[in-house]
Symmetry: C2
Subunit: 110 residues, 2 copies
DNA sequence: CAATTTACTTCATCTGTCGTAGTAATTTCA
DNA sequence: TGAAATTACTACGACAGATGAAGTAAATTG
């Protein structure tokens, strides 16, 4: 399993990536993260919803409700223009981060 | 510059890597991080010294003093056996983390 | 009809980072 | 020679993000 301190800086990015694919809601996103990470990362519910609130406050996503005849009412989210820009920044930062941390990893220990 | 939340899970690993090369002390380590990261990451003093304390408490490093006729007294650190094991774990975790986060990065945005 | 799953919310706590500040010796340089 | 910069830390308080615990409630499954 992956420790949360590592992912910490990237939860927002992960969520934005998924919202870039399509509008979605909490439960679906958490399933998708588990799926795409091949069960290696399972986001905690509280982590997910507090990330939504953070992203909303920053204006990187917006929430809305969709009419539905089945299931419990859901809050849907979509990424905004500035959310996309933020996501792009984070992608570039990630490349840099990989380079930096790789300098301190000994391949012969893997 | 790299945001601290990203590196957060790896400061300890970075320090252990440097202590694996040779015994060292705070100031030297911070210079070395700057140098090896090609100025992309400069660790804050308080972050560094609180990391030392954390690592000491966990038994991953030990501190000692070395006789010296010049300069201000320094606290040196060396990595322990269990520190080495922890470092190796983190190296493996890092490979996993890269795989996971890469799943959520769009290459066409770099 | 009970158990499980879906879909959240609230709250309090913990950890690691970091700003601010202070101490003190040593080295540089004008 | 004296001021400024560098070296080498320590203490303290604040803050952000992650998380455990608990609760709510509707819908689905068996």
């Amino acid at each position: 399993m992956i420790s949360s301190d590592v992912i910490r800086g990237y939860n927002d990015t992960i969520i934005l990536y998924l919202l870039l694919e399509k509008e979605s809601y909490g439960y679906e996103i958490s399933k998708r993260i588990k799926e795409l990470s091949d069960d290696k990362y399972v986001i905690k519910e509280t982590t997910l919803y507090s990330a939504f609130n953070r992203l909303l406050k920053k204006g990187y996503i917006e929430s809305f409700h969709r009419e539905q005849t089945f299931g419990k009412k859901r809050t849907y989210y979509r990424i905004t223009e500035s959310g996309l820009l933020y996501y792009q920044d984070k992608c570039r930062e990630w490349e840099l981060t990989k380079e930096v941390i790789n300098q301190f990893i000994r391949e012969d220990y893997l």
